[in-house]
């Protein structure tokens, strides 16, 4: 994770961002602190912090730094120049932590865990708004795994992690409206139990949640029905107010990058 010291809306690269609608610095610091506390204390997650950088307000959204497998990270290449400034900072940090940093071939965009998620041993890649479909081959060649590209069609859900939440090996929460018809079919054939949430829930970024063991940490906004379903799977649901980060188009998941202890821990 990375402290939101310089967090602000400095440009508009997704429909949630409005320069005129700035996050409150104190409030965002408080919300972020609460997320950190819940993750470390309640979900028992070990968190490492990437130092914030003045010129990179979106560095807080560490999920977009890359995708980690074991001691290797496939580093992102951001679609927008505004965020490309973050790349060298992440690269340097991961290098120092002893990671082997792998690069994407020239001219292809990839935004890390924001668009690449694992569910039931299967990798899914969201593409079109940020990452590109063809990057799936790079990932596949690296991990020797099948990667299924899913086309995103709703700009509000520009990253896969805003509309696709693998809860455990069986259950996936997703918002069907964010995907094209082919992607919906792929999800239905490859996810054992896909559970659709409503648009009303999805726009609250409830699917941008962090799963740690049997704990799900997410922005508040799930319907009673979905909450009941989540709890019936044996999950503890911790709902937080992450409204200040929503102004930038991000939430709990975007604020964290998963570094599995072992390669197979996904």
């Amino acid at each position: 994770m990375s402290r939101p010291e310089y967090f602000r809306v400095a440009y508009e690269i997704n429909p949630w961002m409005r320069i005129s609608h700035q996050p409150n610095l104190k409030k965002s610091a408080r919300q972020w602190q609460e997320l950190l506390k819940v993750l470390t204390r309640d979900a028992k997650v070990k968190v490492s912090l990437v130092p914030p950088v003045t010129s990179c307000p979106d560095l807080v959204f560490t999920a977009n730094a890359g995708f980690i497998s074991g001691r290797e990270i496939l580093a992102s290449r951001f679609r927008y120049a505004e965020r490309r400034k973050e790349e060298p900072h992440f690269r340097r940090w991961f290098n120092r932590q002893g990671y082997r940093v792998r690069n994407i071939p020239q001219g292809i965009f990839f935004e890390g865990e924001g668009d690449l998620l694992c569910h039931g041993g299967q990798l899914f890649l969201g593409y079109r708004f940020r990452s590109e479909s063809k990057v799936h081959r790079v990932i596949s060649a690296w991990l020797h795994e099948r990667v299924l590209p899913l086309e995103l069609v709703d700009k509000r859900f520009y990253h896969l992690d805003t509309c696709f939440l693998p809860l455990n090996a069986n259950t996936l929460l997703y918002y069907p409206g964010a995907f094209d018809a082919y992607a919906r079919r792929v999800i239905q054939s490859f996810a054992p139990n896909p559970v659709a949430v409503t648009e009303k829930e999805a726009v609250k970024f409830v699917l941008n949640g962090v799963v740690a063991g049997k704990t799900l940490v997410t922005n508040e906004g799930f319907s009673t029905k979905t909450k009941r379903m989540i709890r019936s799977q044996g999950f503890r649901l911790i709902e937080l107010d992450l409204s200040e980060f929503h102004k930038s188009g991000g939430s709990a998941k975007c604020l964290t990058l998963y570094a599995p202890a072992r390669r197979c821990d996904r």
């Binding site: 590109e132 479909s133 086309e151 509000r156």
Partner: protein
Amino acid sequence: MVSETVEVKGHIIDSLVLPKILDTILAVPSARFDIEDVRIGRKKSDTSYARLTISAPSRSVLDKLLLKIEQMGAQPTQIREVKLARAPKDGVFPERFYSTTNLPTSVYFRKAWRPVLHIEMDCAIRVEKATGRASTVPMSDAKKGDLIVAGQSGIRVTPLERERNREVFQFMASSVSSEKPKVRLIHALAEEMHQIKAGGGKILFVAGPAVVHTGAIPYFVDLVERGYVDVLFGGNGLATHDAESAILGTSLGVDLKSGKSTQSSHDHHMRIINRMRRLGGLRQAVQKGVLKSGLMYSCMQRGVRVVLVGSVRDDGPLPDVITDMLEAQNEMRRALAGVELAVMIASTLHSIATGNMLPATVRTVCVDINPAVVTKLSDRGTFQNVGLVTDSESFLRELARQIRNFPSFGRRPASKR
């Protein structure tokens, strides 16, 4: 028929990427494909491969299709660098120059896609060899020896997505009709204008003299005073009749209060032009206290950037009117920087000229009593256009009324433009 060979690689079977690409081609009735090679992986982690040749009756149909399937992961078998040719002399493009659209465009130069700056249709793309910077260049600005993009290869045009958060443009598609709920639409427009201003964007108005003839100036002035007009394009007629109504109370000789035309007033506009020419222009008339109200007066007081462009039928014209067309085009281009919304009212030629200069990402609203004008603007390739067939006075009256529900914006810092 033109054709191109593309490759698709990866997990293209399970992910339905290949079926999707084939469906996309089949959806274009005139296009067809031949599968030249397919290799399907056996194990889960194996990748598959397909090579297809796609044919279409024209280059534009093929390019559009290629663009769509490229997003899905298909790639032309050879990635082609953009071709460049030197401009043979000043103001002339090389013979096979690529003519631009108003959509976001990139060129593949020295192994990287480079976004083209200052998007404008009907221009060429100039590439600077040293920096790789690509930008549009109008024909008249080309300099001998400039490197200009030629042919079709290595060019990528990105179609616009329909944005969901822009309510007014979602509410009304670009069809032109007089049968639309105008008050609701104008309300959505007012909201859009407020959002743009709040976000630091600029709003452009293009207006014809009918705005004066119909008596809409007070409402227009209200919008200016509230800070919702940053740039104004018009012609000799707009400024002349505005000054005429401000000083003499008539527009083309018709009394704006009584609606009557008097025998002695048919020459009012000529007298106004003559007076302005004597004073040196509108700004001087404001400074000397001759022009004390009206649209031009308010614009000058508020620091609105006004560009008046002449035409062959003009009387006078006013000294403020630019009569050199190339200079006028460049002045308009400069004024368009930062504009996010263009509202065009009762003006045909200036609207079309403006529409042609705008990138497709700028939203436009075209208001005219004549449906043909609205249609014509939509046909000129100006996307994201909302057309409204209505009288300019009733439009501006309603817009001014709606905008009062939103906060005003302060005077822009004085600039010496």
